[in-house]
């Protein structure tokens, strides 16, 4: 603390600092002065909250969309369900629009047009990210559902199980195992994409890093710190996913 003040005074008087002195001052300014580390922590909190919410929305949307689209494709001839056809058409438009427009534009439209009057920037961001992620997740899950051997569905149905029961107990668990690496990828992208919600005022990690820079005019440490925090979060995520994957692989042991 005292050393920091001394060095700052030294720098102000025009005397050049050594590399390490300079390093110390900038580091101190970026994280310790005025307890700025708390701001990063705040930001991480929001980042994680937004990720969790968006993940939840994305997975729920992804499951619904993919199951409806798969069910539509698997209808028996002569047993076409008009509700399913209607939902299928809507979901196809949804996937096309979301995948066909940039994430940033979706955020701007949601934050500054549709929810322009809302002050819950982070929540609007989470909703947008969730809707975006849902489109990609649905295609990943759909691929997984289609990759399960058709004989599994036939075996389930031949035992008298309903389509829904067969899906829930037999097809989806196998599909999830097959798509976990792809889903993990999508979740990591989602976690990092939360950094974009600062453009509509979401107070997450990047928002606070920029806040610190606007005080200190020193971008190096806040941004490097931010990058390091994201890296640690993603590594944690990957580790958790690995544990989950190993658990699901229990039935593969011979």
């Amino acid at each position: 603390m005292e050393w920091f003040e001394e060095l700052k005074a030294l720098a102000k008087s025009g005397q050049p600092l050594t590399f390490w002195q300079d390093f110390y001052v900038k580091f101190y300014q970026a994280f310790i002065e005025k307890d700025r580390w708390q701001q990063y922590l705040n930001g991480v909190g929001t980042t994680l909250l937004v990720t969790a919410l968006a993940l939840l929305i994305g997975v729920v949307l992804g499951v619904i969309v993919s199951v409806v689209r798969t069910a539509y494709d698997q209808q028996r001839p002569g047993h076409r369900n008009p509700l399913l056809a209607f939902l299928n058409a809507i979901f196809r438009v949804y996937v096309t629009v979301i995948r066909g427009t940039p994430m940033m534009v979706q955020l701007l439209v949601m934050g500054l047009v549709i929810f322009a009057s809302s002050k819950e920037f982070a929540m609007v961001g989470a909703l947008t990210l969730g809707i975006n992620s849902g489109a990609y997740t649905s295609e990943i899950i759909r691929g997984g559902l289609m990759s399960v051997d058709i004989g599994q569905m036939e075996a389930g149905r031949s035992l008298g199980l309903t389509y829904t029961d067969t899906m829930v107990h037999i097809i989806i668990p196998q599909a999830v195992k097959a798509i976990l690496p792809a889903l993990g990828n999508e979740f990591i992208v989602l976690l990092k994409d939360t950094s974009m919600i600062s453009v509509i005022g979401g107070k997450e990690l990047v928002y606070f890093a920029r806040g610190v820079i606007s005080r200190t005019y020193e971008p190096m440490f806040p941004f490097l710190g931010t990058a390091l925090i994201y890296l640690i979060l993603v590594m944690l995520f990957t580790w958790l996913l690995g544990i989950f994957e190993r658990r699901l692989r229990a039935s593969d042991r011979r």
Binding site: G151, E154, G156, L159, G160
Partner: protein, 240 residues
Amino acid sequence: MIDVKDLRKQFGDHVVLNGISTHIDKGECVCIIGPSGSGKSTFLRCMNLLETPTSGDIIFDGVSMTDPKTDINRMRQKMGMVFQHFNLFPNMTVLKNMTLAPVRTNLKIRLEAEDQAMALLKRVGLEDKADAYPAQLSGGQKQRVAIVRALCMEPDVMLFDEPTSALDPEMVGEVLDVMKNLARAGMTMVVVTHEMGFAREVSNRVMFLDEGVIAEEGDPRDLFYHPKSERLQSFLSKVL
């Protein structure tokens, strides 16, 4: 028990079943033989509506299977099916494979279903595999589990779709033995098979399918030793 009335099935322009009519009695063991592409499997799969017939009807226990008002799930509970590729659920243990359907369809409570499953496993000599996953079983063991899994639903009829075709030769016997015992116990069975020995020894009636029609059918001894049609003669000369 099962009445098949002028059953036809087309995949696009390709006619697979071209008018099949037959009757299967309770306790009968019917084997369906024929060259590949003759529609044997399609015929079997039409019976429990895994394939939707283009026209014609299957009357099972007095109920039309093709009637849109028929509760198809309920009807399928009474028709067990065994597949060429076993189709065990790889994400569940053997015991769970067997108890899932009876419990989910409210046929039995879990403990009851487990007791019955264990008894059935014992009957086919696999009681020590109850907690194994399908990946840990041999082909013959998998198929035996698939048979008892279907039996757990206490079906009135069992459909077998080439149950030994995907097995290593030394494992065919153990599966056929289970099927023989089942037939002797009075189970109604419809078996699509290439095992002529089984057809000759166990079945009450053999059906020879060719080009989507029943070309010849009758008592296995008559059919195998005194084939009438030329097509059956040439088929038997190739497979026997």
